[in-house]
């Protein structure tokens, strides 16, 4: 036993002594116990006396409410029983010894099997429990020696006092519905801005601690902007608030921030961690799934401030709502985010059971802070949840229409097609353009003279005007690709834009004189692609046979529609592929993409006229008088189209039609949703949690744990009813757990630090009354998320200065008393987002499929033996918020640290400080490029001196001006950098070449590199990466 533990004990004893409750006669007894427990170590007694002489403050962190008010069972006694006794004398029937149960009042106060009574209120010396934990007899003493745990002296004292005071028993605190507490009286009634501050101050008063002064406005604006939006304040924003003299300048800013869509993006992150969101299935194969529509729903729902009760209902059971909308069904995908195991040889039912178990555990953690997983194999050892009850919860999720296989591409059924908003919008745009052009055409046609029609018909019959006119080739490339397959599949622009006049990055279209009917060598390098483009003008609908050969892969589009796709192994030969094109009158775009593996690459292209389309042949061969009305109309139409002025229009229309057709293929994606089976699946308890060990003795139906409130009247026995039950006003856990997570997000630690566990082994709340007040307040606000956040960030508590004296850190290192403002490192996704935002690179598009920003080379090849390659996107997708980064479960993004790995539900942030994190922020391309672009940004400002530039850069990062000493350090850093780069011109170009964003060519290269290096330092400042 270390000296430290003892010192700690003594401190608590001092509290007891000073309150004068229980000094002697059993204080001496306690001392003896110390000796007994420590086996007569003389040193310890010395320490004891030392501790009594020099009193210290009570332990912080965990609540110690000893003193005048008497012992609180729920907060002080139950944790002792839970930690030391429940394992053998708790809820778990199978593990229970001597049929003694100490987690219920009946067990504590009734005569046990042996005839003794564990606890006799008011009579410590007759209480067997106390006798046992203090017994000298090794056979009698509890917990037994092999448990390796011994009660310490103040725990024994507490138990004794509790019994002496009448042994009042209470339910575990979190299983009782919160009651709105009275506001406490405080030492300084001017300080609190509301109820929250009262509770905080009362606790500080109780510990004889004081609150901190308010943070300066710059710091506060920076703090709240990060907390609500996950992004830094802009200088404009900052200056606007700082210059606003009105007393509500801050609250106005809070309201403005809460109304921005950045809030939804920021708050969604924690929900994604809780929902174990990923873009792949995990396990072997790790196929890509499509769950981003669900992510988009979360962002939109938060931005629309969907009340948390409704949010919950749609997440858990959106599909079961009456006339469920598409969005509500998408929302139900919450529980389809489970990893899927598609490994060969896997037993599907085993997987399916794992998914259902995961849903129970995740639901319990997210909404109830309940560690249900323990009860999968046996009754919960510490909390009132039996194994049977676990499987009753299991029954709620056991009827999903799923097989356990990955059976719908990368997705698993049930799935549904859902619209892609961005594409839908594009469809509308193209449709409008199309309508316009068609109207023009109709207009022109109506005014076209048709007297030459007959002459035209004669020419056709004579076989004239049939040969299509092929234009020359244009070439775009080579564009480097990782492999032939990769280049073949990746879209570089020409095939999606549908406008061949657009180039690709610095490549432009060049004219080429390539002959038809011969193997053409394109200017390609190994592993690259090239595009060839030409037009063909057709005067009468004809069919043309095209023969294509490719070295090594080809895609062919006509008017934006893909007509050929092939990967070959050899060179470009004749007769490789033949396709017949039916070409209507007008100009047609022919776009060909060739992907080259190695050596030279090229193609073979030849066309053969097959003659008029059969439909046209038929019309022409019918004498004019015998033609049907339709045929005649068609003939007139054809004639019109042959008129040169109309041809351009028809060409436009055809292109738009092609684009529309392509877009319409992309307007819907398949995503996973919840759906019930028609034939209900039967639920049984699984012995030891094994999928194939069903206890068939009893069929179980959906039900909630007995210790918690009953299912509300009229609620269905399905997920919808479960959601209603969770959100019922009297549910003791949901609101507490929810507000605690908001507190955790804003203050770094929850009021209950173990935000995932509100059970008897979880930590006690640091401010129980505050937690209950907030829980009841959230319900009173009708689960209005933004209103609650607003309330929290406008408290005095939140607004305190986060700096502190060493003394303050010493007294309360984790700030559990909230005597100062919260100061902690920004979450990792915010670190990346802020670098993008500060440098001006951030692309603020909301929603959509996941994107692939920079990752180190070979990042996926390394773990998958080269089978899966990571290729980062280019252009705007590199600079989207981290929320949209593609998340492969088998290897998450390499520059994300301290985050949930998205395998299982996670609700508590991690915050460590390691050299590997330093390496990411110093060296990752993302951050190096951001430093360069931030340098460019400040070099382009219209200011005179480097001093001013550095002040602005420092403000961008920290929201404040540097002090004179800091300014000097920054100046020195700039001088150091200039000195280095002036001497190393090659280094300048190397540094400036990092990242795709272009450097401004007007800027001095040495200056840019020097500033970029200083910005690299600024982006790594402790203050920059910390939310103060």
């Amino acid at each position: 036993m270390s000296g430290y533990i003892l010192t700690n004990r003594i401190k608590k004893d001092r509290v007891i002594v000073s309150h004068g409750t229980a000094w002697s006669p059993w204080w001496c007894w306690a001392l003896c116990q110390v000796r007994a427990l420590c086996q007569g170590n003389g040193l310890l007694v010395t320490a004891l006396i030392f501790g009594m002489t020099f009193g210290m403050t009570s332990t912080l962190g965990v609540v110690t409410c000893s003193g005048q008010d008497g012992v609180d069972f729920a907060r002080e006694i139950r944790p002792i029983l839970s930690n030391y006794c429940f394992e053998c004398h708790g809820p778990d029937r199978a593990a229970r010894q001597a049929d003694l149960r100490l987690d219920v009042s009946a067990g504590l106060f009734a005569e046990a099997e042996s005839g003794v009574i564990p606890v006799v209120p008011g009579q410590p010396d007759q209480s067997e429990l106390l006798l046992r934990v203090t017994s000298d007899d090794i056979d009698q003493r509890m917990p037994p020696a092999e448990a390796g745990r011994v009660l310490d002296v103040d725990q024994v004292l507490l138990l004794r006092r509790w019994i002496q005071q009448g042994a009042i028993w209470q339910q575990h605190w979190s299983w009782k519905s919160p009651v709105r507490p009275q506001l406490p009286t405080v030492s300084d009634s001017d300080w609190p801005a509301g109820a929250i501050d009262c509770f905080v101050l009362a606790r500080l008063d109780g510990e004889k601690q004081i609150h901190s002064p308010p943070a300066v406005m710059e710091t506060l604006i920076r703090r709240v902007t990060y907390d609500l939006t996950g992004l830094p304040p802009s200088l404009n924003q900052l200056d606007r608030v700082l210059q606003d003299p009105s007393p509500d300048a801050y609250t106005k800013e809070v309201d403005r921030l809460l109304a921005t869509p950045r809030v939804g993006e920021h708050l969604a992150w924690a929900w994604l961690d809780a929902a174990r969101y990923g873009d792949t299935n995990g396990y072997q194969g790790d196929l890509t799934r499509t769950m981003w529509p669900w992510r988009e729903w979360v962002i939109d729902a938060i931005n629309a401030n969907l009340p948390f009760d409704q949010f919950t209902t749609e997440q858990l059971a959106g599909d079961l709502l009456e006339n469920a909308t598409v969005d509500q069904q998408i929302a139900s995908g919450f529980h389809r985010n489970v990893p899927l195991n598609g490994e060969g040889g896997r037993i599907a039912e085993e997987s399916r059971v794992e998914y259902v178990v995961d849903r129970v555990e995740t639901t319990a953690t997210v909404w109830m802070g309940l560690t249900a997983g323990c009860a999968r194999c046996h009754d919960h050892k510490y909390d009132s949840l039996t194994q049977r009850e676990f499987y009753q919860l299991f029954a709620y999720f056991n009827n999903i229409d799923e097989s356990g296989n990955v059976d719908s591409g990368g997705n698993a059924k049930p799935v549904m097609k859902v619209p892609v908003k961005e594409k839908m919008y594009q469809v509308q745009t193209v449709q409008r353009q199309l309508e316009k052009q068609e109207a023009k055409l109709a207009d022109l046609s109506a005014n076209t003279d048709s007297q030459d029609a007959q002459q035209w018909e004669q020419q056709l019959l004579a076989g004239q005007q049939m040969e299509p006119l092929w234009g020359g080739w244009k070439f775009l490339g080579p564009i480097l690709a990782d492999s032939v397959g990769h280049g073949h599949n990746k879209q570089y622009g020409p095939e999606t834009v549908g406008d061949a006049s657009l180039g690709y990055r610095d490549r432009i279209w060049e004219d080429k004189y390539w002959p038809d009917g011969k193997a053409v060598v394109m200017p390609l390098v190994p592993s690259s692609v090239g595009y060839a483009y030409r037009q063909v003008r057709v005067s009468i609908p004809t069919s043309v046979e095209v023969t294509v050969g490719a070295d090594n892969a080809v895609r062919l589009w006509v008017n934006g529609i893909e007509v050929l796709e092939k990967i070959t192994s050899g060179g470009a030969n004749t007769e490789q592929e033949k396709i017949t094109l039916e070409l209507q009158i007008g100009v047609h775009d022919v776009l060909m993409k060739i992907s080259n593996r190695a050596g030279t690459g090229g193609f073979y292209f030849e066309t053969t006229l097959q003659g008029l389309l059969p439909e046209i042949k038929k019309i022409l061969s019918t004498p004019k008088v015998q033609r049907t009305e339709d045929q005649e109309q068609r003939f007139t139409e054809l004639y019109w189209q042959s008129v040169p002025e109309l041809q351009d229009l028809t060409y436009q229309i055809r292109r738009l039609q092609g684009r529309l057709q392509q877009l319409q293929k992309e307007t819907h994606v398949e995503t996973m949703v919840m759906r019930e089976r028609v034939e209900p699946r039967e639920t049984y308890l699984l012995v030891r949690g094994r999928y194939d060990h069903l206890d068939k003795s009893e069929k179980l139906s959906p039900e909630v744990p007995a210790t918690l409130p009953a299912i509300p009247e009229g609620a269905a026995k399905n997920r919808l009813g479960l959601a209603r039950w969770l959100m019922a006003k009297e549910h003791p856990l949901t609101a507490r757990v929810a507000v605690n997570r908001y507190w955790q997000a804003l203050f770094g630690t929850g009021l209950v630090a173990t935000s995932e566990d509100f059970g008897s082994r979880g930590e006690q709340p640091s401010h129980p009354d505050l937690l209950d007040w907030l829980a009841t307040e959230y319900v009173r606000l009708h689960w209005d998320r933004k209103a609650l956040l607003r309330k929290l960030v406008t408290t005095r508590t939140y607004g305190q200065d986060s700096g502190a004296t060493s003394e303050s850190f010493k007294l309360d290192p984790k700030n559990r008393l909230l005597g100062r403002g919260p100061r902690f490192r920004l979450p990792v996704q915010v670190l990346r987002d802020q670098a993008l935002a500060m440098s001006g690179l951030l692309v603020e598009t909301i929603g959509g499929p996941s994107v692939k920003p920079y990752q180190p080379k070979g990042i996926w090849a390394e773990f998958s033996f080269g089978k899966i390659q990571y290729t980062n996107d280019s252009g705007p997708n590199l600079f989207r918020r981290t929320l949209y980064t593609f998340w492969r479960r088998s290897a998450g993004p390499a520059n994300i640290f301290d985050n949930s790995d998205r395998q299982v539900c996670s609700v508590r942030p991690r915050r460590t400080n390691t050299p590997l994190q330093a390496l990411v922020l110093l060296n990752d391309k993302t951050y190096v490029e951001a430093a360069r672009m931030l340098a460019q940004r400040i070099l382009n400002l219209e200011v005179e001196t480097s001093k001013e530039r550095l002040v602005i850069a420092f403000r961008i990062a920290t929201a404040r001006r540097p002090t004179t000493t800091e300014q000097a350090a920054l100046d020195r850093c700039l001088e150091r950098s200039r000195g280095y780069f002036q001497e190393h011109p090659a280094a300048v170009e190397q540094l400036l070449a990092v990242g795709q964003a272009r450097s401004d060519i007007r800027l001095d290269r040495v200056e840019l590199a020097s500033y970029a290096s200083v910005m690299n330092v600024i982006l790594n400042l402790d203050e920059t990466v910390t939310r103060e």
Partner: protein
């Protein structure tokens, strides 16, 4: 931990100033290391890792764990069953199989025909250990190793099986062995991670198994305990290289400026976390220097390179990783995890097994010899094993050696261990005549974990971490130390 102790672990401003002549970063780092019990000046109140002092006397200070991903066949390599030869092609007797579950890959196979070992066995060393002719180099260290023939596990598929060995649970999410060790014992060096991981692949890249990063994850432990992957391409450790154009000296200068600015902030806000950050940046700088040195094996003398075989200079090969493991062990890295894939021989056993043995036999034996000649084997526990074994019956067409193999077999398989207190020259446990059931001295995965922890001086029941209200440990709620394995 109480506030006092917590505070004692934090570096005070006064200490910083007093030692500022060494540079702010260096001082901050020294203080951090003192917390990990790595410097002589550290007091007893600064425990190395959570345990402070180990529970028992450690026999091993570090572990090198060679995990053969995919499950090498114990029937063909270690578990000598001479009687099988005569029974080739006969069905596996039902009395032996006892209705055990099979994977869906062979569950519907009409016949489970016995396939004897594909190479002859011979006895080796003073101990007379039977080993396949496929393993001539392992044979040369027979007297050093302890072969456990009675391992058994609960998983029947790869990822869950490997996860079970490494974390004690089949589902991902718990800390892996190395992370537990880092958490329990802390770091033993100041320039390299505590827990290093390397992966390699068979020459033909035949298998589909993936090296998931949870295989070296920290689960619910703080993420600084997770393994650091040494890569075979690009930077040996991710982000270890400075940006192009930045020299080491220039970076040093920038880091000094950064430390100065951070120190100024610490003066104002007083948060000890700032000092920690200064120290971590310093350690990052040191790692940047030591990792490239370490991964450059060309500095090794020729006779050492020869010991590991011709593949040793190819970065990312199993041989290279074995040599790197020795170099990491010398530097005091606590847990070195080598994973090698390509053993999942369902349909290519006769061709692939030999190649795999050729690639791995010599380097693994060389590692043991090399450690031994440097005196490192005494306190380094080396483990060679996989997630399960393979069936004695044939999967696929018995008569077509080009396409047949063996299915997964979790009921018994072999691992070997050496060094760090293990009894060498010994075979432990036994199986029936079909290498299908254990008949003597079974060793469960949790027993193996308990034993390995015991050798490191750790009581597996007392290295715990409370998460979601439960005190988790590597061995879940099971595990018995197998004391017969210990010298």
């Amino acid at each position: 931990m109480g506030p006092e102790a917590e505070f004692r672990q934090l570096v005070t401003r006064r200490e910083l100033l007093g030692r500022a002549s060494q540079g702010i970063g260096a001082v901050a780092l020294a203080s951090l290391l003192a917390q990990d019990g790595m410097t002589a000046s550290s007091g007893h109140d600064s425990p190395p890792g959570i345990l402070g002092v180990p529970h028992g006397v450690p026999r091993a200070k570090r572990v090198i764990y060679i995990l053969h991903n995919g499950a090498p066949s114990q029937v063909d390599l270690f578990d000598h069953k001479p009687g099988l030869k005569k029974m080739r092609g006969e069905p596996l007797p039902e009395s032996v199989r006892q209705g055990q579950r099979l994977t869906t890959m062979t569950a519907n196979q009409k016949q489970l025909a016995l396939l004897p070992a594909i190479a002859p066995f011979r006895q080796h060393g003073d101990c007379g250990m039977w080993l396949s002719d496929f393993l001539p180099h392992t044979a040369s260290i027979a007297d050093d190793i302890c072969l456990v023939k009675s391992m058994h596990t609960e998983a029947i598929n790869h990822a869950p099986g490997i996860t079970f060995f490494l974390t004690g649970a089949q589902q991902p999410g718990r800390p892996s062995f190395g992370a537990w060790l880092s958490y329990g014992l802390g770091s033993a060096n100041d320039e390299l991670p505590t827990y290093c991981v390397m992966t390699s692949l068979d020459r033909e890249a035949s298998c589909g198994q993936i090296f998931y990063d949870w295989y070296w994850g920290s689960g619910f432990l703080p993420s600084r305990h997770q393994g650091v992957k040494f890569r075979s391409n690009g930077d040996p450790v991710l982000y270890i290289s400075d940006p192009p154009g930045m020299s080491r000296k220039f970076r040093r200068g920038l880091l000094d400026d950064l430390a100065r600015l951070n120190e100024l902030r610490h003066d104002t806000v007083g948060d000890p976390e700032i000092t920690t950050r200064i120290g971590q940046y310093e350690m990052a700088y040191k790692m940047q220097a030591s990792v490239p040195q370490l991964t450059d094996v060309n500095t090794e003398p020729q006779h050492i390179l020869d010991l590991y075989g011709s593949d040793v200079t190819r970065r990312g090969s199993f041989a290279y990783n074995c040599l790197l493991a020795r170099r990491l062990a010398e530097k005091g890295v606590r847990f070195i995890q080598l994973m090698h894939a390509g053993w999942d021989q369902h349909s290519n056993l006769p061709t692939q097994l030999k190649i795999q043995c050729q690639d791995t036999d010599q380097p693994a034996a060389a590692l043991v010899k090399d450690l031994k000649q440097r005196g490192l084997l005494d306190d380094t526990l080396v483990i060679w094993g996989a997630e399960f074994g393979r069936t004695v019956f044939c999967q696929g067409d018995m008569d077509n050696a080009k396409v047949h193999g063996r299915d997964h077999h979790p009921r018994n398989f072999c691992i070997w261990m050496t060094g760090g207190g293990i009894r060498g020259g010994m075979v432990y446990g036994d199986t029936d005549d079909f290498s299908y059931n254990i008949i003597q001295q079974p060793v469960h995965v949790h027993d193996w974990q308990a034993t390995a922890l015991h050798l490191l001086g750790i009581d597996h029941e007392r290295l715990t971490f409370r998460f979601q209200g439960r005190d988790f440990r590597l061995t879940d709620v099971h595990g018995q130390v197998v004391s017969d394995l210990i010298a």
